[in-house]
């Protein structure tokens, strides 16, 4: 991970800032009259915008000359910062300054474009004052932008808070059933101001404050910045963000790091489907997305499909911080729903080796802009989303569908919503979004990574190889795997290279069975106890998993995507944790967990370890004896500008 420079703000030549400002001065009669006429006529939508460009004026209310001057300077400053479309949509706006605002409110707006009226707190005009922890002049600017945003939003040209696309981006997500409408906004983490979540109109006003006033807004909320810019007819300011998208990557051995993903390195996105199995919890499979990321130095293209070590998987999961999953808590939304970014290698291992479930990976037909949109959305979700997991209405299939829906506007129009991973797979294929033709030739599909077989798919074939070479008395795979490890060990010395390879895979199968038994033993031990009684080793592992799904907890201040200085702080915090959880510490964790096991389980695991070791030695011995050359491990390519995950 290389540190990135501070995100720079390169708003492309804001021509509208250099335009001549509208004349400021006393209320101009004609404009005022038109405004009033409009109010009488109830509808002003047909009036040409430019004739009515924003004109702020103070309603005479006993302000001293200094205050009048400060107000005029504020109007000029804010008016010049607004995008022209916004300015042009508003007409005469009268500002009333008052001393008797209630509570924490410092501004209010009334009316619509031609007869807008703002009421602002007079203290905002006192340059030496400090309100709500902010200098008065900064707060005055924010407040005025906020209230003008409300006026714009209510105008015919505005209407942002009623735009379904804005609601998608803001986090009032669609439910999988159209007629149920939208859920509440769960973008609670790293919000600039939680007030934005109260309702869409406030979301628009709060975000337009930062869009206009905070140079970092485009890099912190790139998707929204792009939306606002498009609505105002401006170039997308987020294009100027130099660094990649920060994502917390749960790498090997539980090692966490912030990767800066450059969308230019993502060649495609697949729907990654883990097949169901016989257990009720996994019957309908699991829905994920696979990011086909190119290795450093490889041009973006189909060749990147085999850069498996760089691919990452986006997986929504309920975070269960206990040894026992409770169906009731799952049905009633007591578990958080979290977005995890995991290495593909780890996901393939977890499903094909540990859970014995096959994976299918279907490319989605997305253009590069759509891929970028999806990645922006994923990053926003990882740092800000704090949703709840509901088995029936907000599970992994629904979350994955919402990510597709909110990240790629074209997909929002397609009938993809559903509540099962198999259903989503079917709809993606039927609508032509997913390309299922890659599965037509099973051998090619396996070779190119469109299919990853469950390890169990080959157990029988491997056992047949063993029986073909060695005179083992067992007749079935299960009989073989159920033997005590030392009874399998005696055959290792007689195996040829083919049989040794088969023995290796079977021994790994035996290891998996032993691990499952160890897990059940541990689970039984704490099933009835509360989480507090878990040994520290287990509790720490759960906490670690929790953190991987909610990186906002690490980030400290700031809103939206963390910027360079925040990423530096996060990495420092991760270094400390990785010393406890990283590769180096893994053996120690394993010993601690093993110590909790019954003696018989522990002995079995150790026996299998010894067998795996012996098979490895046997394979090396046979390879050398056959005159096979040792493998020369290629060195890394010279480091280029690598923005992306490490392998």
């Amino acid at each position: 991970m290389q540190p990135v420079g501070p995100a720079t703000w390169n708003w492309p030549a804001p021509s509208w800032r250099n335009e001549s400002r509208p004349a400021l001065g006393p209320v101009i009669g004609s404009a005022r009259k038109r405004g009033l006429l409009c109010a009488w006529a109830l509808s002003c939508a047909g009036l040409p915008g430019n004739a009515m460009a924003l004109h702020l004026s103070t309603r005479a209310s006993g302000l001293g000359p200094e205050q009048v001057g400060a107000a005029e300077a504020l109007y000029a400053d804010v008016t010049a910062r607004l995008p022209p479309r916004w300015r042009d949509a508003l007409g005469e706006v009268i500002v009333e300054w008052r001393r008797d605002m209630r509570g924490e409110v410092v501004g209010r707006s009334r009316g619509t474009r031609q007869h807008g009226r703002l009421v602002l707190d007079l203290r905002l005009l006192d340059p030496s004052a400090s309100l709500a922890g902010q200098p008065a002049d900064a707060l005055a600017r924010r407040t005025l932008v906020h209230e003008l945003a409300h006026l714009y939003d209510r105008s015919a040209q505005g209407g942002l808070s009623r735009d379904p696309r804005l609601l998608d981006l803001a986090g009032w997500q669609r439910r999988p059933w159209r007629w149920v409408g939208r859920g509440t906004n769960a973008m609670r983490d790293r919000s600039p101001d939680l007030y934005e979540l109260t309702r869409p109109a406030e979301f628009v006003a709060v975000n337009l404050e930062d869009f206009v006033l905070d140079p970092q807004y485009a890099c912190r909320r790139p998707q929204l910045a792009g939306y606002f810019a498009a609505r105002f007819g401006l170039p997308d300011p987020a294009l100027a963000c130099r660094s990649g998208l920060p994502l917390l990557d749960a790498g090997e051995g539980g090692r966490l790091s912030v990767m800066q993903l450059d969308p230019e390195r993502v060649a495609g996105i697949d729907y990654l489907f883990a097949e169901g199995n016989d257990t009720p919890m996994s019957h309908w499979g699991h829905a994920m997305l696979r990011l086909v990321i190119c290795a450093p130095g490889r041009p973006r293209g189909p060749d990147c499909r085999l850069d498996l070590a760089w691919h990452r998987v986006i997986s929504f999961r309920a975070f269960v911080d206990d040894v026992q999953v409770s169906s009731w808590r799952g049905l009633t939304g007591r578990y958080p729903s979290r977005l995890y970014v995991l290495p593909l290698d780890r996901v393939v291992d977890d499903y094909t080796r540990t859970e014995l479930r096959g994976l299918r990976s279907l490319p989605l037909r997305l253009d590069h802009g759509e891929i970028t949109g999806l990645l922006l959305r994923a990053a926003q979700l990882q740092w800000s989303y704090d949703g709840r997991y509901f088995f029936l209405s907000n599970n992994c299939a629904v979350e994955t569908w919402k990510l597709l829906h909110d990240g790629v506007p074209r997909l929002a129009a397609l009938p993809l919503g559903g509540i099962t991973p198999t259903g989503l797979l079917r709809r993606l294929t039927r609508t032509g979004v997913a390309d299922a033709s890659v599965l037509d030739d099973p051998r090619q599909a396996r070779k190119l990574g469109y299919v990853f077989d469950a390890a169990s798919a080959h157990y029988q074939a491997m056992f047949d190889v063993v029986r073909g070479t060695l005179a083992v008395p067992q007749h079935t795979v299960v009989q073989w795997l159920d033997l005590p490890p030392e009874r399998r060990a005696r055959w290792i010395g007689q195996a040829d290279i083919k049989a040794s390879a088969a023995l290796l895979l079977l021994e790994e199968a035996a290891q998996r069975r032993a691990e499952l038994q160890a897990r059940s033993a541990l689970k039984r031990r704490w099933l009835s106890g509360s989480r507090k009684e878990l040994p520290p080793a287990l509790r720490a592992l759960f906490d670690e998993e929790g953190l991987a799904g909610r990186p906002a907890e690490l980030a400290g201040g700031g809103y939206g995507l963390p910027q360079a200085d925040e990423v530096t702080r996060i990495e420092a915090a991760l270094d400390v944790r990785n010393a406890t959880f990283g590769d180096a510490a893994e053996a120690s964790w394993r010993r601690q967990l093993e110590a909790l096991l019954p003696e018989a389980e522990r002995a079995r695991l150790h026996g299998i370890d010894a067998n795996l070791d012996a098979i490895g030695q046997r394979l090396r011995h046979l390879h050398e004896a056959a005159g096979g050359p040792p493998l020369v491990m290629p060195a890394d390519q010279p480091a280029k500008a690598t923005i992306g995950p490490s392998p």
Binding site: G253, G254, G276, P280, M281, S282, W284, G285, H286, L306, L308, A309, R317, A318, V320, S327, G330, D345, R346, D349, D350, R353, L392, N395, A397, T420, P421, R446, K447, G449, F452, D453, H458, A461, M462, V465, A501, A502, L505, Q511, R512, E515, K523, L541, F542, W589, L593, D609, L612, D613, I615, G616, L619, H623, P629, P630, L631, P634, A635, P647
Partner: protein, 95 residues
């Protein structure tokens, strides 16, 4: 009730945490001697099971991780470019 439970579809078990801890040896246990942590070394290590299935099945079972490792080896070594797939798969197994 079973049908409703069936929708637990994608509830992540907390136990994969445990599994991952126990499973530290599935891929790397035998190749701990390899001190190299280069990207290619990781690609090759991840291909071990695929290489085993390939060797044991006389080349009939050919997974993507093996494919990735073969490409990675050949991209950076003349010796590997001259070797057959089976020779490389055996060499990966002997790591």
């Amino acid at each position: 009730m079973f049908r409703r439970l069936a929708l637990l579809a994608c509830l992540s078990l907390p136990l994969p945490v445990l599994a991952a801890s126990f499973a530290g040896t599935t891929a790397g246990g035998l190749s701990a001697s390899s001190g190299s942590t280069s990207a290619a070394a990781k690609v090759v290590r991840a291909a071990r099971d695929d290489a085993a299935a390939y060797v044991a099945s006389d080349g009939r079972i050919r997974g993507a991780r093996l494919e990735a490792a073969l490409r990675s080896l050949r991209e950076s070594g003349d010796a590997a470019r001259r070797a057959s797939d089976m020779e490389l798969a055996r060499a990966i197994l002997a790591q």
